[in-house]
Symmetry: C3
Subunit: 474 residues, 3 copies
Amino acid sequence: MSKKKKIFLPKDRYFGPTGGRKKMALILYQKIADLPLVCPHGHVDPRLFADPDYRFGNPAELLIVPDHYIFRMLYSQGVALEDLGIPRRDGGPVETDPRQIWQRFADHFHLFRGTPTGLWLVNELHDVFGVDIKLTGDSAQDVYDQVAAKLAQDDFTPRALFKRFKIEVLCTTDAATDPLAHHQAIRRSGWAGRILPTFRPDAVVNIDTVGWGDNIAALSEVSGVAIDGYGTFIQALENRRAFFKSMGATATDHAALTPYTAELSPQAADAIFQRALRGEAAAADAAQFTGHMLLEMARMSIEDGLVMQLHPGSRRDHNHSLFERFGRDMGADIPQATEYTHNLRPLLNKYGTDSRLTLVLFTLDETTYSRELAPLAGHYPALRLGPPWWFFDSWNGMEHYFNQVIETAGLYNTAGFNDDTRAYPSIPARHDMWRRAAVNWLADLVVRGMLDEEDAVEMATELAYGLAKRTYKL
Amino acid sequence: MSKKKKIFLPKDRYFGPTGGRKKMALILYQKIADLPLVCPHGHVDPRLFADPDYRFGNPAELLIVPDHYIFRMLYSQGVALEDLGIPRRDGGPVETDPRQIWQRFADHFHLFRGTPTGLWLVNELHDVFGVDIKLTGDSAQDVYDQVAAKLAQDDFTPRALFKRFKIEVLCTTDAATDPLAHHQAIRRSGWAGRILPTFRPDAVVNIDTVGWGDNIAALSEVSGVAIDGYGTFIQALENRRAFFKSMGATATDHAALTPYTAELSPQAADAIFQRALRGEAAAADAAQFTGHMLLEMARMSIEDGLVMQLHPGSRRDHNHSLFERFGRDMGADIPQATEYTHNLRPLLNKYGTDSRLTLVLFTLDETTYSRELAPLAGHYPALRLGPPWWFFDSWNGMEHYFNQVIETAGLYNTAGFNDDTRAYPSIPARHDMWRRAAVNWLADLVVRGMLDEEDAVEMATELAYGLAKRTYKL
Amino acid sequence: MSKKKKIFLPKDRYFGPTGGRKKMALILYQKIADLPLVCPHGHVDPRLFADPDYRFGNPAELLIVPDHYIFRMLYSQGVALEDLGIPRRDGGPVETDPRQIWQRFADHFHLFRGTPTGLWLVNELHDVFGVDIKLTGDSAQDVYDQVAAKLAQDDFTPRALFKRFKIEVLCTTDAATDPLAHHQAIRRSGWAGRILPTFRPDAVVNIDTVGWGDNIAALSEVSGVAIDGYGTFIQALENRRAFFKSMGATATDHAALTPYTAELSPQAADAIFQRALRGEAAAADAAQFTGHMLLEMARMSIEDGLVMQLHPGSRRDHNHSLFERFGRDMGADIPQATEYTHNLRPLLNKYGTDSRLTLVLFTLDETTYSRELAPLAGHYPALRLGPPWWFFDSWNGMEHYFNQVIETAGLYNTAGFNDDTRAYPSIPARHDMWRRAAVNWLADLVVRGMLDEEDAVEMATELAYGLAKRTYKL
């Protein structure tokens, strides 16, 4: 392999494989490629936008250390996380030389062949940082130099990129106890960029969360409601939702191991809450309480209009020793089979036909697309299906989604795209993959005579822009 | 969009996407396109054929009000069923103007883009009613006029369409207690069309059916067997099967929440039956009794030769308030994960190798195709796999079926196609989609060199005609 | 159909369907088509190689009687196994005329249209036996004659074919109690072919195995360790592993109904073992003991370096009466839904990050590819994913695998191919299908601009050769 092999990203990349479908996909793509990006769900740190002059660090700090999509793949092939500069919980020594980290990453870049992470990176390096040579062990330091040089430029601040990326609105994900100081700073700064918070109360709602007691104390503090039972807990949550809404939030987000829902009486809910306060709650208590709170959250959404998102099915921190050493979000969250038809029935029977509710469902179990989620979304007025989530936010994951969801749910019961990412510079590449997957799917319907081109353009526009904007009330 | 945009349905529609496969698919299609339709399973009302001069009502009454595939999609987007003229159980007011209903439907027709329902409708309007303009809110009343005009013609009676559709035989689905009056009238009329009943005893076999006690009373009455226990219940069922067979039936059909089977002693079966008669049966009783009765039904099929069909896995009436207001079959039946390997073992170990039994299995859980159903059908002589059922009776559903079933089960352990529809005028469009999906799948094997053209033509003929006819002994 | 229709196997068969992808696939294929075959897992009888002059019997004895892939399909369509010469356990009469058996097989060869078994057979008859006419009832005896004539030639001994097939190494599967007499004879003969044993201890580890007590007695005998409890049982196993390793083994293999793992204390393990010795072990004992032994086997693999394979999820001998009449491996093993995320967690938390362990996972439940197995293999350093197993070792099965595994796990966390077959002459055809599926998948990525040709060639080489060789330390 030559040290500096040029890469070439053709305009019609990903489409096809060949022939009329590839041509039609490009025609459709050109209608939507320049639409603004609507980012209704993600994990970008709002701090990036609070300071107008915020600068990214070095390439490793920007692209590798915070991205578990990347370092977990190297870990799976025997690279120690310490050698990639991942901070240890005990503060012990880890690699600090960014060029070394970058070199190790580049030496293993072949691991990402055929993966979405690899495609995003190539596109991001090319489109955002102007890198047009193939990343290998040999070219590693050259690429590092190019990226580092760009990061030093004035037009590489997060705010400058926000404009360049044509982001219309970007929603962050924020704990219920978060005072939203960065969001407040953004507002005060007078900057026109729309960075909106999202209310995520898992750490106070799921009573088996590590540190739950401290979280409740923090919630009391930040809400000004002294939480001494279930009733005051609900008051504090409503208080925080109102605050988030006043800061521009249009949505909430909820994680749970399963989508189990079941209503408790206030007395039963309080009994569990009291056991939790005393540190005596059992595992079954936690499952029941979360199941009940999902109903409560739907009730609050009906009252305050915040769109509700549900992300179930991830067994977090599967690798215990890794968790002990490095903490959360280390690429060790593993999906599990998920059941929606029975689990969601209590919630849907109570609130699923209420026109004031929008509940966006996600899954890590593709088998539920055609079996449960599409039939549910194709029936209940309150439901919308979110795009493929994590592990499935890939070319094949998107193809599966279109082919398994739309025939039953219809396009208009889906929620468009969200990038769900911590990796801010990867946002355009992620939306681009979705847009390409969408038009490639539509092009297939057109060349088969299942759809006319006029309708296909409308659908492509909805997928790229309209559905996300309307679903999330942006 | 112009008010009257012409639609064009190319001869090679759906095939492809492009190139040699599309051409080969058309070659194969032309060999089978004109074969008669064999319809071994469906829900067309036999009343249509009992009166030689039966006329359909208006377009809304024909195409929208009875078709939950259609109105559930509008409901999912906030259209009230009352506004579509769906009758309420309490007889309360609903829309009665068919032009208003049709207009609402047309205003929302974009919801069906990319769905099989949309494709069927376009084809049905075009081929049956001669509509060659695109259905939109603008063109709605024009299309209404065209359809209404056709319905007024003499050659649009059900019997005339039966001939025009080239239906060789059409099986209805009929309760065990049904006296088959319409079927008797058809026979008496001397008409040559073959309309055969199918014995469906769910309402008397599943003891948790709402109104089960009344159903048993009706079964006593119609069979002339005074049912006072399990033994007389079995007698009454055998009596009814004999009557159905005398009326031309070749098959039975069974629905169950799961395919659980397990044999009870006659004493244990009677104990449950007595509890059910007293209204004291528990949920577990119902599951056990249904599981036992599936074995009994297989036993009876071996004795009387009726082909047995099993349709498990639908959680009926998921939306309780909708059920209360409108009743059954409102588009709120949701699939659930289904297990066949262990559940069917008792039945298959007792009867699965008996050459006199044909048991046709269906599923709403596509994951079972390759994991359980194809291996089972590729082993047990009595088993045949039915075509994709409901939600999966779509282009992608058929592609998944061919790609996940045939490699293991082989083509000759499948049961051909059935349209399973209430919507009589949609029958040709449904068979046409299946035939197109079949030849497109075969064309892929031919152009890849996995199959020669001679074999492909034989297989296409089997899929379009032979398998259904032989499996159902028609 | 003419009696002797010529068959034609194009060089680019299976690729495509058409256009640039087909061309690119052929380009890639030509780079790897001649690589040697690495066969790390299979069921070929080592006896074939122990005697330099071993000769195969007649065509039926070679191709039909031992191959449950074939005879189960005929059985499913009503052909009695007796009529195919399958030996009965009671020694009762079965067909003995190989020409009759062959004729029955050929009369039903249409059943294999569109199946991998059919493709393997056509390729095997063509490439190994030089048959270039289509196998039908009419041509059956001609084909028989051709195959029989070849079998009589000197260059059709197993050793001669080994060279002609370019097999670099072939691993057999051998019971823990097997003295490996054939492997010893091969060694003594001085023949250069590498035939290596694999340690498969299911029959002594799974205490619910029929005849377990006898197996333990045999294990005592062969190991020279008097097994009187859990401690001596472990000693005997370690003893046998050391012997297998001394005979060239590089791997072990384990079957279990589920991949459940959980560690027992030595006391608890011994208590179960003692109950098993007394014939008093319950079903739950067996599940617990197997789950514990999987951990023990991982521990031993870390110590002795043998690669560990796990094949869970098959409900063996589903058809009880068939088992009674003919015994095991009669095509009546049916997959069941399988759960890995929770079941494997104890093992992976204890040993999954140990660089000395390689654990290769297989599945009969394709839904676990993207949901559980790829995320697990994309995280834990010890894990590798085996290729599609049985029922899924087909064209579509391989396509599903590539499309559902690689995006998340990456190519380098997979284990290459193994043929897993008893049918020695089918080995080249099976590897060829895998190689064709691999390059066709890669060609798609290349023509879509997701991969460059240079990387694609490297990946194709890994898939055809490198991954299997390195994973299994061959």
